[in-house]
Every structure is written in structure tokens, then in C-alpha cells.
């Protein structure tokens, strides 16, 4: 089962972070965070960027973590496939959540 988890875990994490950040977006817009200024950014933008960076950090941590405990040493089919899904999840986190930097907030 650990082999299977090793393959699935990175994309589970992507899905969880993607859904959570979309939820945060809905909550932030409903609460009017886009109207609260926080230095050069709004509270909304700051929260979204922080959440995105945290999601990226978590992906890299998982990528590093799956090489060691509790998944056992690297190598073998599950290790190689897990590495592929791990990098796929990193790319997915970067690409699908980059709109936090590039688009308008709640309009």
C-alpha cells in the first residue's frame, strides 16, 4: 500500500491545495479582503500568494520526504513513478495556481 501511496500522494496534495486555495479565494472575496491594504498588496493578494508558496513548499517537502521515511529507499517501479507524479504535482501547483499573481482579485 505504501508503494501506491507514494505514487498517489503528490497529486492528492495538489488537489487538496488547489481546492483549499479556491475555497480561500471564495472566502476572501466574501469577506472583502480585497479592500484591505497590507503594504504594497491587499490582504487578499497577500493571503493568496502566501497560500500558493506554502502549497509549493509542501510539494517540495513531499518530493524530498518520499525519498526517505515512511516510504523506504528510492528506486524501483513505485519510486520512479512516484518521482514522476511528484514532479507533475510541482508543475501543476506552479501552473494552475499562478493566477494568484497575474489576475484581478474578485472582479
Amino acid at each position: 500500500m505504501r508503494d501506491l501511496l507514494r505514487i498517489l500522494a503528490p497529486l492528492v496534495l495538489w488537489l487538496a491545495s488547489f481546492s483549499a486555495i479556491y475555497g480561500l479565494h471564495g472566502l476572501g472575496c466574501a469577506q472583502g479582503w480585497a479592500q484591505i491594504t497590507l503594504g504594497p498588496l491587499t490582504l487578499f493578494r497577500s493571503m493568496m500568494i502566501a497560500a500558493w508558496l506554502f502549497a509549493l513548499l509542501a510539494q517540495f517537502a513531499l518530493l524530498w520526504g518520499t525519498r526517505t521515511w515512511p516510504f523506504g529507499p528510492q528506486g524501483g517501479f513505485a519510486g520512479r513513478t512516484g518521482m514522476l507524479t511528484g514532479w507533475a504535482a510541482v508543475v501543476a501547483t506552479l501552473w494552475t495556481l499562478q493566477p494568484v499573481m497575474t489576475t484581478t482579485s474578485c472582479a
Binding site: 500500500m1 505504501r2 508503494d3 501506491l4 505514487i7 498517489l8 497529486l11 492528492v12 495538489w14 488537489l15 488547489f18 481546492s19 486555495i21 479556491y22 475555497g23 479565494h25 471564495g26 472566502l27 472575496c29 466574501a30 493568496m48 524501483g76 517501479f77 513505485a78 520512479r80 513513478t81 514522476l84 507524479t85 507533475a88 508543475v91 501543476a92 501552473w95 494552475t96 495556481l97 499562478q98 493566477p99 494568484v100 497575474t102 489576475t103 484581478t104 482579485s105 474578485c106 472582479a107
Partner: protein, 827 residues
């Protein structure tokens, strides 16, 4: 024992009853796979006829062929039948038939569940068909958007048929998904580690996990909409705190993964057949597995791209637009792996290969238009036009029907034991290919000219007449092609000559048996050392028939097979299957009675049906297990393993675990709905919150913790030689405390019809209460089983299963009570 004597002995144990009675009591996967496929293709025929009616209506301007009311029923039922009664059940049927054979085992994990799933599908599908025949079929489009489908704008029974019938049919999909997941992970030939699994099994595993997590949001949505229609609980009514957009979220949380749930098994068929047709091995096995997994997960991040025109803020749109473009990457990896496989092999142009080429050409076009509609500005222009209809047919017909036709022709010699004689199939392929592209290429064009989907007629001034006529004529050419496939298959089944085993010289295990396959598949189970066991082990089929594999030494008096370790594929335990029984069809009939009572509003019948299901469920589980320890069993090759009931991780435990994945997704979807309404819907906050109660909170969390702890102590007592009776009773008391506290909370909450808040709380509380009652029944049953002698320090599997459900109850009870009580505290 000779191979023939072994065959006769095994056949007597495994065969279904003779004659038509056998259909109603069989639990054999080959029988049920064939029944699934025959039924799904019957529905394909019905859906196809409806498609012809649609094209007849649109062939000319100002058509008077069907009025708008009937036309609405026709297009709604066409989409509904093709999605729910053809595509998914075809995957189920094919996988039910093939998986055990490919995995080198004798049946799926839960044969009675396979049969129950089939009958739920057959009865639910019949329910929808009856509505069509009576002229009261669903008419709100296959995605049933409220408020159009709410009680105000659709007061008839039409919508109820959809909501109740589809929910009934979805039981079948969930059953199959649990079945496949456990079977693929645990029921394989010894030695078949994860990296040696046939690629189709990987695709089936990924698809099954997607069904477990994709279908629950739609089941929840259907329940909520039906409850709103029948009892007035306002989940989707904006004036009472509801929001019709909630339906769109729940529907597309299912609906977009559904596209990949349909495509991925077909991709599994392609990845299996293509290397055989190209006389080589599959290029990039690991990359394909990773791509299938990535595709599955990414598909859950696309649902809002069906909602680009609903006024969602730009940032939200951009998330889903980016995810929608990204999904093309893992799809592209698979397509390039297939092209590479062709490149490195020596392709032979047999009939399955023609359909695979048809797939490649068609699906790539569908994928490219998919990227177009993933881009928000383009989607705003094309949304709800015939362009979208054309795109989805390129993806679904190209991505599913062509590969399935390839699969049918590829596995037909296995199904029938005959060799193809007539050459109708080649001509049929040409007609289908040309007819399909004539129909839907034209539809892209007319969509870009502005023709909306689902319109029943149009004026001649629009300039759409010629294109629509081309589309309609082409669709009839395609229909003639599909009819020729049907004729070809019937001729093959009844007239063609006997063929030899493995005509394609394939490497997978389904060809290492007689054709058509015997009920037990393998007289003994192979030891697998590679992904292509057939060419690697000389004379494998004959050696297995002679009993030289695993279980060849066992007397053929029970239906036995082996379960293996998930990763390594080493033998884990011995499984004994139940025999033929009418229990699944009876259970499905009583389940149908439950749904029928809701449909025709005979509510007095509902509790009787529930009671019937409870009794049948108890009979179902009571028949399992043993009253004596069996100890380690000789399985051949010097290996000895315990019986399944004498382990902690029995098939029942794994089945429960994956069922709880689906269940947890349902609960998560409900919490999402609650949060969505709270933050987005108009008309919040409600005028009245639930008064917080410390006593209820303590009773629920305390009771749940007692149940969890006591079940663990009961299991420990049992392992140490005790019976664990008193701890089981304490666990039962804890569970009853949860049920009582939740019932009290439900009793004093604001009227469920007053506001979406109260309605959601009512459903949340009912969900926890249902699970508390279910868990209490399990604990009471365990108590009775202990007393009756079904448990011992070795026979411990049932404790682990009940403990798992108690754990789940504790989690949902804690979250449920927090979600109910905290808003009142904050207010």
C-alpha cells in the same frame, strides 16, 4: 488428476445453475460481465435511436417532427442513457469479465456484490426506460440544472425519474468501483507485483478510484434536489438561502471527472491492444501509469470550466482555465507513447487496429477543441452552442466508442472461442468513421455560426439548413455502420468457425485458458515473473490446466482463490467465495422498492423497504465465515497461507476501507455545500441558529470515543483468547449514545424548510444518525456472531471491520456536531 477430470470437478463447483434460472442466481464474473455488456449495448441501441430522432428533428428548418416537450425528453434521455446506462456500465462489464482473467485469478473480490450491482443497474435503467415509454421521461437536459428542474418550473414526475433512477444506477457504479479496487490490489496471480500488472489493470484501478471520489458529489446533489422537490427543503432556492449554483458545483464535481472515467478505461484497452497489433511491447509503461494518475487527479480540478459564464471572479476562472490546459499534457504523453509504440513495432492492420487509428485521429481533434474551450474568452463565445456538443462527441465517441469497438473485435475470439469469418466489420468501420466526422465536423461549424445546443427548431433565414442536413445524413450513415457491427457480432457468435487459443499471440493471461473461458478461469493459478507471462513461460496454459500452478493441489469442492500482498504480489491468504444465490437480485429488488416508493410517493412503503434491506443485509453477512479455525493451508509450491477470515486485513476490511473513501467524499461534498451556501448564497445569515448544547456535544464526542476505544479493546481481548463480548456491548452503548444525542439535536433544530441553513443541518444530522444506526447494527451483529462461535483468536477479521466503521463514525460525528453547534456559539 488429469486436466479433463480437474476441469469437470472445478466446473461442477463454479458453474452457474443451468437454464434461465442461472441468470438470476449467478455470481460468476464471466456471466455477469456478459450480462452487463449485453444490457449496456441494448441501452446504446436505445440511445442511438434517440440520437437519430434528434438528427431527424434538426435535419430541416422549421421542423414539425417532434414538439418541444417531446424533443426535450429525447435529448435529455439521449445524454442520460449514453453517459449513465451505456458508457460507465460498458466499462464495468468489460472489467468484470476481463480483470480476473488478466490478473490470473478466478473471480472478483465480492461476487455477490457484482451481481447486486448488475441488478441495481438493470432495475434502475428499466425505471428510466419506462418513463420514456410512458412519455414522462426527464426533460431538463442531462445535467438537470435547477431552478429549471425545481418543483416550481418542473412540477411533474419527469425530473424525479432522473434523480431517483440515476441514484439507483449509481449504486452499481460504486459497487463495481469497490470491487475493482480490492480485486486489483489483492486478487492477483502470485508474483504479480504492481510493476508487473497488465496496463489495463492500472487504468481500471485509477478509474475505480475516480468513481469512488467522483460519483458521491452527484449522489449528494441528486438527493438534495429530490428532497427539495419532495419535501420543500430549500437547498437551491435563492429566496430561502439556497443557491442554484450549488447544483452546478456538485454536478460538475462529478461531471468533469466523468469524462475521464469514460476515457481512461478506453485508454487501457488501447494500451493493451496497440502493442499486440504492432507486434511489440508498450513504450513507457511507467510514464503511462504516471500520466493516467496525473490525468485522474487533474480532472478533479477542472469542474468550474463548465461554469465559465456564471459570473465567477476572474481569478477563479483562471485557476480552472490553467488546469484545463494542463490536462492536455498527461493526455499527450499517452498519445505520444502510443505513437512511439507503433513506431518501434511492425503494425498489422487488423480490424481492431482500424478502430484504434480511428480513435487517434478523432480523439486528437477532440482534445484540441478541448484546449480551445479551456480558454475563457473562447468559451464565452462557444458556450452552450453546437460547437460544445461537437467537441464532447469527438472526445467521447472518439475516446470511448472507437476503442471499445477495437476491444470488442480484439476479445471476441476469447468471448466466443470462434474465429472471425465475415468481413462486415471493415465496411462498418468505414461507414462509422465517415459518418461520425460528417456529423460532428459539420456541427462545429454550425455551432460557430451561432446555433445553440438543445434547440428544437430554427428558421431558414439562419443559413444553418444545409449544414444540419449534411450532419443528419452523416449521422444515419454512422448508424448504418453501427448496425452492421451488431449484425457482424451476431453472425460471429452463432455462425463463425471454432478458432484457436490466443489468435493474436498476445502476452496477457486472459489468453492462457480455454475459449470461451470456463467458469473458474484457471484450473491452477500461475506464478508470474513478467508483464507478458504467456510468451515467457512455455506451455503455460497447458501447465495450468494440468494443475501445476498454485491451488492445483486443492480439492475442487469450494470456490477458492488466493489474495496477495499489494506491492510484492506474494501469496497473502486463501479466499473462499460464496456459491450461486438469488440473494443479490432479491436485495436489488427491495432496494428498487425503496426508490420506487420515493418516486411514486408511497411513503408508507419506504420504511418497509428499509426494513427489508436491513434483514437482507444481515442474512448477507451471516452466511459468511466459519465456526472452526482452519489454520495454515497448503496452496502448492511449498507455500502455506491462512484463511482470509483469520487475518486482520480481510477482503471485507479492504472493501469497507474503499467504500469509506466514497462515503467520506460524500460527507466532504456536504460540508463543501454548507460552506458554499454560507459564504456565497444570498439570504444569509438565517434568522435563527441552532442553540448550542454542551450536553449534546459531550454525548456525541464522548459516545464516539467510547465506541472507538471499546472496539479496540474487544479486538485485543479476542486475540488474547477472550471473546470480547463485554467490550462489544460497551462499544454498542457508545454508538447508541451518539445516535440519541444526534436525534435530540435534529428534534430541536429550526424547521428544515425555513432556510437552507436548517435544511443543510438536517441532512448533516441525518447523515451522522444513519451511520450511528448502521454502526450499532454492525456491533449488534458482531455480538451475535461472537455468541454463535464465528470468532476466535484466529478468526478475528470481523473485529477489524467493525472497528473501522466505528472510527469513521467518530470522525464524522465530531465534525458534524462541530459544524452544527459552532455557528450558534459564535452568534
Amino acid at each position: 488428476m488429469t486436466a479433463l477430470r480437474r476441469h469437470r470437478a472445478l466446473d461442477a463447483t463454479w458453474s452457474s445453475r443451468p437454464g434461465f434460472r442461472g441468470w438470476f442466481s449467478t455470481v460468476n464474473h464471466s456471466d455477469l460481465g456478459r450480462m452487463f455488456l449485453a444490457t449496456s449495448f441494448f441501452f446504446f441501441l436505445v440511445g442511438g435511436i434517440l440520437a437519430m430522432l434528434i438528427r431527424a428533428q434538426l435535419a430541416t428548418a422549421d421542423s414539425a417532427f417532434a414538439g418541444p416537450e417531446i424533443y426535450s425528453q429525447i435529448f435529455t434521455m439521449h445524454g442520460t442513457i449514453m453517459m449513465f446506462l451505456f458508457a460507465i456500465p460498458t466499462f464495468e462489464g468489460l472489467a468484470i469479465y476481463l480483470l480476473p482473467k488478466m490478473l490470473g485469478t478466478r473471480d472478483l473480490a465480492f461476487p455477490r456484490l457484482t451481481a447486486y450491482g448488475y441488478w441495481c443497474y438493470a432495475f434502475g435503467g428499466t425505471m428510466l426506460l419506462v418513463s420514456l415509454l410512458l412519455g414522462i421521461a426527464p426533460d431538463g437536459g442531462w445535467f438537470m440544472y435547477p431552478p429549471l428542474t425545481g418543483a416550481i418550473y418542473s412540477p411533474g414526475i419527469n425530473t424525479d425519474f432522473w434523480l431517483i433512477g440515476i441514484t439507483f444506477v449509481e449504486i452499481s457504479a460504486i459497487c463495481a468501483a469497490v470491487e475493482f479496487t480490492v480485486s486489483i490490489l489483492k486478487y492477483r496471480a502470485p508474483g504479480m507485483s504492481l510493476d508487473k500488472m497488465p496496463i489495463f489493470a492500472w487504468y481500471a484501478l485509477v478509474t475505480s478510484l475516480m468513481i469512488l471520489t467522483g460519483f458521491p458529489p452527484l449522489i449528494l446533489g441528486s438527493i438534495l434536489l429530490e428532497v427539495e422537490r419532495a419535501f420543500g427543503l430549500p437547498f437551491f432556492q435563492a429566496d430561502l438561502g439556497g443557491d442554484s449554483l450549488l447544483w452546478q458545483h456538485l454536478f460538475w464535481l462529478f461531471g468533469h471527472p466523468e469524462v475521464y472515467i469514460i476515457f481512461l478505461p478506453a485508454a487501457g484497452v488501447i494500451s493493451t491492444i496497440l502493442p499486440v497489433m504492432a507486434r511489440t511491447t508498450l513504450l513507457g509503461y511507467g510514464w503511462i501509469v504516471a500520466s493516467a494518475v496525473a490525468l485522474a487527479f487533474l480532472s478533479f480540478g477542472l469542474w468550474v470550466h463548465h461554469m465559465f459564464t456564471t459570473g465567477i471572479p476572474h481569478m477563479g476562472l483562471a485557476f480552472f482555465s490553467a488546469a484545463s490546459t494542463l490536462v492536455a499534457v498527461p493526455t499527450g504523453v499517452q498519445v505520444f507513447a502510443w505513437i512511439g509504440t507503433l513506431w518501434k513495432g511492425r503494425p498489422e492492420l487488423h480490424l481492431p487496429m482500424l478502430h484504434l487509428l480511428g480513435f487517434l485521429f478523432t480523439f486528437v481533434i477532440g482534445g484540441l477543441t478541448g484546449v480551445m474551450v479551456a480558454v475563457v474568452p473562447f468559451d464565452w463565445q462557444a458556450h452552450d452552442t453546437a460547437f460544445i456538443t461537437a467537441h464532447l462527441h469527438y472526445v467521447l465517441f472518439g475516446g470511448f466508442v472507437f476503442p471499445i469497438l477495437a476491444g470488442i473485435y480484439y476479445w471476441l475470439p476469447l468471448f466466443t472461442g470462434r474465429t472471425r469469418f465475415f468481413k462486415l466489420g471493415e465496411m462498418a468501420f468505414v461507414l462509422i468513421f465517415l459518418g461520425f466526422h460528417g456529423t460532428f465536423l459539420a456541427m462545429h461549424w454550425v455551432g460557430l455560426m451561432g446555433q445553440r445546443r438543445r434547440i428544437d427548431t430554427y428558421d431558414v433565414e439562419t443559413g444553418w439548413s444545409t449544414i444540419n442536413l449534411i450532419s443528419s445524413v452523416s449521422s444515419f450513415i454512422m448508424a448504418i455502420g453501427l448496425a452492421m457491427v451488431l449484425v457482424d457480432i451476431i453472425l460471429h457468435v452463432y455462425v463463425a468457425l471454432r478458432g484457436r487459443r490466443d489468435p493474436w499471440k498476445s502476452g496477457t493471461l486472459e489468453w492462457a485458458m480455454m475459449a470461451p473461458p470456463p467458469a473458474y478461469n484457471f484450473a491452477s493459478l500461475p506464478r508470474v515473473t513478467s508483464r507478458a507471462p504467456l510468451p515467457d513461460i512455455s506451455g503455460l496454459a497447458n501447465r495450468l490446466a494440468r494443475g501445476e500452478g498454485y491451488l492445483g493441489n486443492r480439492p475442487a469442492v469450494r470456490r477458492e482463490t488466493l489474495a496477495v500482498d499489494i506491492s510484492s504480489g506474494q501469496p497473502d491468504y486463501l479466499v473462499v467465495y460464496p456459491g450461486n444465490t438469488a440473494l443479490p437480485i432479491v436485495f436489488a429488488a427491495v432496494t428498487g422498492l425503496f426508490f420506487l416508493s420515493l418516486l411514486i410517493k408511497f411513503y408508507w412503503l419506504t420504511p418497509l423497504a428499509v426494513l427489508g434491506m436491513m434483514v437482507l443485509a444481515l442474512v448477507w453477512v451471516w452466511r459468511l465465515g466459519a465456526r472452526e479455525d482452519s489454520g495454515l493451508q497448503e496452496i502448492g509450491h511449498g507455500d502455506r497461507v491462512p484463511m482470509a477470515g483469520e487475518t486482520s486485513r480481510s477482503p471485507g476490511w479492504w472493501g469497507s476501507a474503499f467504500l469509506l473513501v466514497a462515503n467520506g467524499t460524500f460527507f466532504g461534498s456536504l460540508l463543501f455545500g454548507y460552506a458554499f451556501l454560507w459564504t456565497v448564497a444570498p439570504g444569509w445569515p438565517p434568522s435563527q441558529w441552532l442553540e448550542p448544547s454542551v450536553a449534546e456535544t459531550i454525548a456525541v464526542t464522548g459516545g464516539a470515543l467510547v465506541a472507538v476505544g471499546a472496539m479496540r479493546i474487544a479486538a485485543r481481548h479476542n486475540r488474547r483468547g477472550g471473546r470480547g463480548l463485554s467490550s462489544t456491548v460497551i462499544a454498542l452503548m457508545g454508538t447508541l449514545a451518539v445516535a440519541a444525542a444526534i436525534a435530540t439535536m435534529l428534534h430541536r433544530m429550526p424547521s428544515a424548510g425555513s432556510h437552507a441553513y436548517a435544511a443543510t443541518l438536517f441532512v448533516l444530522g441525518s447523515y451522522v444518525l444513519f451511520h450511528a444506526i448502521l454502526c450499532a447494527l454492525m456491533q449488534a451483529n458482531l455480538f451475535a456472531r461472537i455468541v454463535a462461535g464465528y470468532t476466535s483468536p484466529h478468526r478475528r477479521a470481523e473485529f477489524a471491520i467493525v472497528a473501522l466503521w466505528a472510527d469513521y463514525l467518530a470522525v464524522i460525528a465530531a465534525i458534524g456536531v462541530a459544524a452544527a453547534q459552532i455557528p450558534g456559539m459564535l452568534a
